[in-house]
Symmetry: C2
Subunit: 566 residues, 2 copies
């Protein structure tokens, strides 16, 4: 007999499906064995040509078409509602659909445009998806917790239930964005895979044997399937970059205090050592940049005390554009981290690094080896893991206890079956001090590269894997070191899709000797045939507060790589 | 018989005096009863006219005279060394004198200037004092701890001893600053008075019955006596603003991440709830502004990972200057906090508020009542006090235990005679959450003032006491609520000297009924005759990251008030 929480989860799962209009339901969902890749050609079969045209346009393109009066917000919204419905049925990437409210918003925007002959903001009429950590008026937020169903963040009868909206949602609304769905995330948000007892598992749309990444895994999958032109994720250890990399989309993890997180749900709160960043993900680098820039135009620092008073800096954007042209100021110079020495990347990731390095070099830029201080990446990871144990796991276990639901193995590994002793103020202070030491040491290393760049500047950024693999296989996400160190350093980082795994090329050296147990397991997990066709992304990491620079570089690199392919 | 720590403290105290050349020693130090006020006229009797001219010039003025070739850095340095020697003998405000190194620096700068006919930076040849938290090569840092004598921050045989320099010291050196002394601070830094077992008590130079403020109390006293044109303090609960207010000088507590604290000593570390700010203090508002601006020109964000990438913003400076002129954009509008409802300011402070309000109103600006959310100030203070108990006082007790020295009563009140149980991660998280809630609530209140300003903007800043009194009497610093709430909010705040206590005007209402016990004691502590002549300062508080705006306003207000006096 089903347990109470199972019934609730099942009902919610069904309610999500029921919110999809009958006309958009698929009769049958093929298995991964039958249909590994459900992107592009596959999903297009269920759409008409106008819907395809609309949904395959990026954030900026859509905004332009609507501003030019070529498309209405209603037709754009309907097209994305349709495609998002298909996406969810194929890979389980959505927690909430609210199409009626979306169409109502779109109608109001069209009416405004008809009356005033102008848009209300930079994102007038553009559908934007939101990770299910964001609160939207009239819509539930479960974050995948069964115990949060019918509550406000687990609190019954809270007056904010159904009325509250996160600050960044208000700002996007001001800009004219249309909201229509909230996307899946893992229990506790603390995983690079996306699973929970409601939607079960979010699959990678390009390769349904693999995970879609996490914790913003629903966003990555939905955006890759073009069920959304762009949306918002959050990242405390890679949660924007992992899904972006695994799904072949773009995403930026900004410095933590650039965009507002006020009123964003979480079940791990009040830890002030390493903070989560909120940031945009999109189908193109340009779309990611536009979303970031648009939010800043709302002056979020006036409304969220944790946001720094720093508008989009046109000067930094222009200076970086100039550098991409290899002018008298010298080329761009990138560090490249081929391995962190703890876990070596699997062959597809290693090859992606070679491709990106070659493309940059060919374009006249310079690439130097990135050799951070000995043991720094391991120590940075240690600081982050410690910071999650401050409360001994009490907060997440409180959230589970609301329903008594099943805790998935990936979460058990981190938080156990019950809370442990919390850390004390002395231990926490030691962890904070260790973080600062590591940040300073890493900064000194970065500055020291001025000696080898030949440009009079330290490196402009560095290239690094986001994970040792193109994407993790279920329950085989063994190592977070490639994404997490960036959060502890509070750097900014943009994911750029580079290539696809290719079973004919991507093979381990026959004599490969694993570095250690985790590296050995990572090698064992690689299966060239299974991985074939998977997206491979890389991150380009910048110093704190250099989002403008890194977004320009991401746009430039994506153009460079697309030229390579043609 | 003297205890071991007493001997060490006595030897260090004598060593400080011994480092003053014989020619600058005073035969006899008058008692406070004999000579309450040792500023201006009193101290000038020991100086020649050239020394007086030099030492009564502000930071910018000195830099100009040297850059014009009118003064040499050596003569300027010697004049300040002399005056600082006198200052220390009169009020005990210095921990370290290093005149030989200073003269050597000054000579090198003069030689550079003679050779290149230009300065090396904005502060070429300007003597700058440093709170004894700052490390300078070749100079000891005790921070007032007997157990730190002969060590590096309490660690024996640490290779950094005598070689290490704080990042901000390096930056000031780059700018051409000359270092010659480090100033006194209280045990643990956690007091609004300045006392320790080495220098004993730093007295207020304007009224030697009162304290000089703390924890940057040596800076305030030295700057007021014009033994320094400007220097650096730190502030986690008012430690720049209290000494600035009590000594009749200027000082800014910036948003915590604008200036670099890397490599600055402390004995309360690793607490990430409310951070300390480092900031300049000076004899004039213009001097304070110049120091702030000069440090930013060194791009500290490239060298300290905790500093935000935010250069001095000329636009914000220009916009604010425009507003001071009462143009079409409307006048400046200030909130005014006459009382926080917990402790009412003593009469001199209440009168200072009236004076500043009248001056602003007369100049065409607007003043509105500042009525922050109910209980917010009390709760903000609570968050700060909690944050100091995270480690149960272990860190400060470790520092005391190095020598077994006497803990002063002001510190016993906060930390007891021995460490308590530390707080745990759950309690710490709760305190972090409470802080964010209070910050958001206060921000919403600030934004809401747009309804009453009539300028289309919320208030430009608000005026508040720094303390309930002109300065505290020894061991009578009972209430920190007026300064500390600003740190918890992470706002910026500049102290401006407003008036002098006047026994003929400043009297409590005969029917005054205390609000509570602390308010009653504060009333009891007031003695019109004793306080007569004391400086009264007020703070002008701005939103986070508005240092440019607040420094322009401080300069404007100081001009306005000096016009009032003439």
């Amino acid at each position: 007999m089903a347990l109470e929480w199972e019934k609730k989860a099942e009902a919610k799962r069904q309610a999500i499906l029921d919110s999809i209009p009958q006309k958009w339901r698929l009769d049958r969902i093929p298995s991964a064995e039958e249909q590994k890749d459900v992107t592009d050609e596959y999903i297009r079969q269920f759409l008409n040509s106008k819907e395809i045209e609309i949904t395959e346009t990026d954030v900026g393109g859509i905004a332009k078409q609507i501003a030019a009066g070529n498309w209405t917000s209603v037709e754009v919204t309907e097209a994305f509602c349709h495609r998002a419905s298909l996406a969810h049925q194929l890979v389980n990437c959505v927690h909430e659909f609210f199409f009626d409210a979306a169409i109502e918003s779109a109608r109001a925007l069209d009416a405004y445009f008809a009356k005033h002959k102008k848009t209300i903001g930079l994102l007038h009429g553009v559908p934007i998806s939101l990770k299910d950590q964001l609160h939207v008026k009239g819509v539930e937020t479960t974050m995948g917790y069964v115990g949060w169903i019918g509550t406000f963040q687990g609190i019954k009868d809270d007056p904010r239930r159904g009325t509250f909206e996160s600050e960044i949602v208000r700002e996007l609304r001001n800009l004219g964005a249309v909201f229509y769905c909230k996307t899946s995330c893992p229990q506790t948000l603390m995983s690079g895979e996306t699973f929970n007892n409601i939607i079960e598992y979010t699959w990678n749309p390009k390769n349904r044997f693999l995970c879609s990444g996490g914790s913003s895994g629903g966003e990555g999958a939905l955006i890759r399937l073009k069920g959304s032109p762009g949306g918002l994720g959050t990242d405390i250890a890679g949660s924007i970059r992992m899904p972006a990399a695994f799904s072949g989309t773009y995403g930026i993890k900004p410095t933590w205090d650039r965009l507002p997180r006020r009123g964003v749900a979480t079940s791990v709160y009040g830890q002030n050592t390493v903070s989560s960043s909120i940031g945009p993900m999109a189908t193109t680098a340009a779309g990611t940049k536009l979303l970031f820039q648009a939010i800043l135009s709302q002056q979020p620092w006036l409304y969220d005390p944790r946001v720094v008073d720093m508008p989009w800096r046109d000067t930094l954007e222009a200076e970086t554009k100039e550098l991409t042209k290899v002018t008298s100021k010298g080329p761009l110079v990138f560090g490249v981290l081929k391995t962190d020495g703890i876990v070596n990347p699997q062959p597809p990731v290693a090859r992606a690094i070679s491709i990106l390095t070659a493309a940059l070099t060919k374009a006249g830029h310079r690439v130097v080896e990135w050799t951070p201080p000995a043991n720094s990446h391991k120590a940075l990871m240690g600081v982050l893991v410690n910071s999650w144990q401050y409360d001994g796991g009490k907060q997440v276990h409180d959230a589970f206890a609301l329903s008594g639901e099943k805790i998935h193995p990936q979460i058990l590994r981190l938080f156990g079956t019950s809370p442990k002793e919390p850390l004390d103020g002395i231990q926490i202070a030691a962890n904070n001090i260790e973080r600062r030491r590591l940040q300073s040491e890493y900064m000194d290393y970065w500055n020291s590269t001025i000696e080898i760049t030949g440009t009079g500047r330290p490196v402009d950024g560095f290239i690094s894997p986001v994970a040792p693999f193109a994407a993790a296989r279920p329950q085989k996400y063994r190592y977070y070191g490639y994404s997490a160190f960036v959060n502890v350093l509070n750097y900014t980082s943009v994911n750029v899709p580079v290539t696809l795994a290719d079973q004919n090329i991507d093979k381990y050296d026959p004599g490969y000797t694993p570095l250690n147990e985790v590296d050995g397991a990572t090698m064992e997990d690689y299966d060239a045939e299974l991985y074939d066709g998977a997206h491979v992304g890389l991150q380009i990491v910048g110093r704190s507060y250099t989002e403008e620079k890194m977004l320009v570089i991401a746009e430039y690199v994506s153009e460079l790589l697309s030229q390579e392919h043609t």
